[in-house]
């Protein structure tokens, strides 16, 4: 499966990835609605947090709304989701998202749009063993 990989040392904090992700997922340019999150650290370096598709959220979901798609990406069936946000609290990587203007949890769907916008190669798609 393909996942978003990161090289935080290359990140310049332009947040183009956040804006793109918000557009793709929610048709909005609100960076708070992005599944990939850039956090500035003290010495002008940046953390990049994005889902690694580990799937630990899948057995947490009480209604089997979270599943691994055929291509290996972990997806959420919004019709089934009951908005308990257990997956947000139980994500070991803190990459399952809640944002108050979005109904239900959301996450990276490995579409790659953010990596295409990154000017420095700090994020890129990589094939990994699922």
């Amino acid at each position: 499966m393909k996942i978003v990989r990161t090289k935080p040392e290359l990140c310049i904090g332009c947040r183009a990835c956040e804006e793109t992700c918000s557009k793709v997922l929610h048709k909005d340019t609100n960076n708070e609605k992005s599944a990939i999150i850039i956090t500035e650290k003290e010495n002008s370096t940046f953390d990049i947090n994005v889902c690694n598709q580990c799937g630990e959220c899948i057995p947490i979901c009480p209604v089997e709304a979270i599943y691994r798609a055929k291509n290996g990406t972990v997806m959420i069936n919004k019709d089934k989701c009951v908005h308990c946000y257990a997956c947000v609290g139980f994500c070991p990587n803190l990459s399952m998202r809640y944002q108050k203007d979005v109904t239900g949890p959301f996450k990276c769907i490995s579409c790659g749009a953010c990596t295409r916008e990154c000017p420095t190669g700090a994020i890129f798609m990589e094939e990994v063993q699922g």
């Binding site: 057995p59 947490i60 979901c61 009480p62 209604v63 089997e64 089934k80 009951v82 908005h83 308990c84 946000y85 257990a86 947000v88 609290g89 139980f90 070991p92 809640y98 108050k100 109904t103 239900g104």
Partner: protein, 729 residues
């Protein structure tokens, strides 16, 4: 009656539905929940088949909040002095609180059930998980109020999708819950798809609920992973007995498309953030703390055994070398792990574990492989160690049959332990028990007695009356020593004790004795604070705890929450807080949640006050129904100290030390009987002093009656409440 029902997969559901005869149908206007409330109750009278919607008056909402508060208020209105459990005017009320039904905060799926108990003749309240309460609420009702008695067995179907209620006579289905819940879930779901099956929940009892006073209710939910129904129990006080006396075979609710905003809270963002915070805390800390997600409450067996608190052989002793055979190690292999075992959406504490594929060795379903919900700690201690049975699989089987037959494992365990002690002391014999050799440890006899309760025959019918009535019977008919039976019969107010040895904790003795409903630990669990950590050395300290904790714990039942996520998981820094026993951060979570859902200003003080109104009304209801005064707070000496020479001598060092250090009595040269008498005098006086202090703190008279001033202070000095209290002042 003997029952050998077919497994649900062998039954043609459509054919069976045809056997139903519709006797009433009622359509209602849909109503969305607003800030946690529908502000209406569904009232059903099974004598007249009247179905109506009752608006909840604003004053009732303000004063009694919801859940148990509504249950007690409706019981107050429905009953008169002398109303008995099997009178038609008695009601079963199933209510949620305003927070109940949210999917984001763990433990928000509870229903609170209230009725007049066939064991105590006063109000009983019992809390239960499963989906029925939330689905009923989202169908548009804060409470379901059932009065009257049906002529024939009926099913009440609340169709929240199509806004109608149907009462159907249902003559053919088996009443035993593991079959009935599965069957009715399939019968009333829109299809066999998982999402439709989980939109249905069933309330049912079982055969033994009809023949005993210890009947309970199972509340179901469909588990999409196990592809079958799980059952949670409203166990205490014989509610299932009332249910079957009303000829209710089942209550069924259907409500589809459950989402996280159906409670329509004032501040959904706050609800979600508070929920996520606790999910994360459980994720980070449960493995280091109680491991509820792995072992559920079974881990308590080991802890209680280690601290001499696990009831062994009718509460004579507090530990046993084989006690841990019933503890968590046994359930590493028996439980199915890694499943999201919450009994409502979003409960990540996930303690509702189950034993899959369990092959039954006795009874009508012998040889079948079944899913067994639980066992919980109370069942392991009650049906296991308290009866001298130290084999986890044997308790699992007992648990299964108690559940499907619809009886309470706590009352069953405690009454079985009592019967076994009576048998060993020669009060009972094989002639009286019809051949059952009810020695401690005889699991086969225990199971046969249970099957007799279901069949309605033999000694099981005697035992099913409960400890209180057995004591009277054994004294009157078999010449038993009344004083001994009073000491060893572990009941108060008519309700069997739950499963903790309270001998070394005066606060817990008071906690059991001063409960409204009878000795159940949901109101108080003070043993560790009192006995192990000695945090309440004076009577005033204990009275303060017996003021605060019952009210704090009552609040879960009126707001619509489970207690376990309060202190079975704690913030990592909780021990650094000023009052860690209260888990201050979680109390703040509840304050935040109440405001976030209802939009009303709220505080820790108002939380207690909400509870205090309900608590005091329940107390006055006990007075109205013939109990409620000080003499009914008396407890058996077995819960206070050693009744027998063997008990004393088994912990002789402890008791001798107390005589010497506390009473200044030199035990050397004294007989065990003399030492027991001195210890007993001291302990019984202490209990009475505790009652004096607790009543004072609660604003009650020394006879345990709320004063008019207290009722006025709480805003519940209604004329009929005052009139009842005045009779006792």
């Amino acid at each position: 009656m003997s029952c050998k029902c077919k497994k649900s997969e062998d039954i043609n559901v459509k054919d069976l539905r045809k056997s139903h005869k519709k006797i009433a149908e009622f359509s209602f206007e849909p109503k969305e929940i607003y800030r946690g409330y529908a502000d209406r109750t569904l009232y059903i009278n099974l004598s007249s088949n009247e179905v109506k919607i009752k608006p909840v008056p604003e004053d009732m909402k303000d004063k009694f909040t919801g859940g148990r508060g509504y249950g007690i208020k409706y019981l107050w209105d429905a009953t008169k002095p002398g109303t008995k459990w099997n009178d038609p005017e008695n009601e079963i009320i199933i209510a949620q609180g305003p927070i109940g039904g949210i999917t984001q905060y763990p433990g928000a799926g509870k229903s609170y059930v209230a009725t007049i108990s066939p064991l105590t003749d006063i109000a009983i309240d019992s809390n239960v998980g499963g989906y029925f309460g939330p689905l009923c609420k989202f169908s548009g009702f804060d409470a379901l109020e059932i009065q009257g008695k049906a002529g024939n067995d009926v099913i009440v179907f609340i169709d929240g999708d199509n806004n109608k209620v149907v009462i159907e006579e249902a003559p053919e289905e088996c009443v035993n819950s593991h079959i009935l819940a599965e069957l009715l879930t399939k019968m009333y779901a829109d299809s066999d798809a998982d999402d439709d099956l989980r939109s249905v929940s069933v309330v049912s009892a079982g055969q033994a609920a009809e023949n005993t006073r210890i009947g309970m209710l199972n509340f179901s939910y469909y588990d999409v992973r196990r592809k079958q129904c799980k059952l949670k129990q409203a166990g205490r006080g014989g509610i299932g007995t009332v249910f079957r006396d009303k000829k209710i075979k089942a209550l069924v609710v259907k409500k589809s498309n459950i989402k996280g905003d159906l409670n329509n809270p004032a501040d959904l963002d706050k609800v979600i953030k508070t929920g996520i915070k606790l999910h994360k805390e459980i994720h980070d800390n449960d493995d280091k703390q109680c491991r509820m997600r792995v072992f559920g409450t079974t881990q308590l067996v080991d802890a209680m055994n280690a601290h001499d608190l696990l009831p062994v052989k009718n509460f004579q002793y507090g530990s046993h070398p084989e006690g841990n055979k019933l503890g968590k190690e046994a359930f590493i292999n028996l439980f199915e792990h890694g499943l999201p075992d919450g009994c409502w959406y979003g409960c990540t504490l996930a303690c509702a574990h189950a034993v899959p594929g369990f092959e039954l060795k006795t009874g009508p379903y012998k040889g079948e492989k079944v899913l067994v919900d639980g066992p919980e700690y109370e069942t392991l201690a009650g049906c296991g160690s308290n009866c001298g049975i130290f084999d986890a699989e044997k308790v699992v089987e007992c648990n299964f049959y108690c559940d499907t037959y619809g009886i309470d494992t706590i009352s069953f365990g405690t009454l079985c332990a009592f019967v076994m002690e009576c048998y060993e002391r020669g009060i009972l014999n094989k002639e009286i028990t019809g051949g059952l050799e009810l020695n401690f440890g005889n699991w086969e006899a225990q199971m046969e007695m249970l099957h007799q309760m279901a069949r309605g025959e033999g000694f099981g019918m005697v035992a099913g009356q409960g400890v209180h009535r057995m004591k009277k019977l054994f004294i009157e008919q078999y010449g038993a020593d009344a004083k001994l039976l009073q000491d060893i019969g572990m009941e108060a107010k008519g309700l069997e004790y739950s499963e903790y040895v309270s001998k070394e904790s005066l606060a817990q003795q008071g906690g059991y004795g001063t409960t409204n409903k009878g000795p159940q630990h949901d109101e108080n669990w003070l043993i560790f604070l009192d006995m192990i950590r000695n945090l309440m050395p004076t009577f005033e300290d204990k009275a303060e705890a017996l003021y605060y904790f019952p009210l704090f714990r009552t609040w879960f039942s009126i707001a619509g929450l489970c207690k376990l996520p309060w202190n079975d998981i704690e913030p990592a820094d909780n021990h650094k807080q000023a009052e860690p026993a209260k888990v201050p951060e979680h109390v703040q979570n509840y304050v935040d949640l109440f405001t976030a859902v209802t939009g009303k200003p709220f505080s820790k003080e108002e939380l207690l006050r909400q509870s205090e109104r309900v608590y005091n009304l329940q107390k006055v209801l006990s007075l109205k129904l013939g109990k409620g005064t000080r003499k009914f707070d008396a407890i058996p000496y077995r819960s206070v100290g050693p009744v027998t020479v063997e008990e004393y001598e088994s912990r002789q060092d402890r008791y001798d030390k107390q005589l010497k250090e506390i009473l200044g009595i030199n035990p050397e040269g004294m007989s065990t009987e003399e030492k027991m008498a001195a210890l007993r005098k001291y302990r019984e006086e202490r209990y009475e002093t505790l009652l004096d202090t607790v009543y004072k703190r609660r604003g009650w008279t020394q006879n345990g009656v709320p004063t008019i001033e207290k009722l006025e202070e709480l805003g519940i000095a209604y004329p009929d409440v005052v009139e009842e209290v005045k009779k006792h002042l």
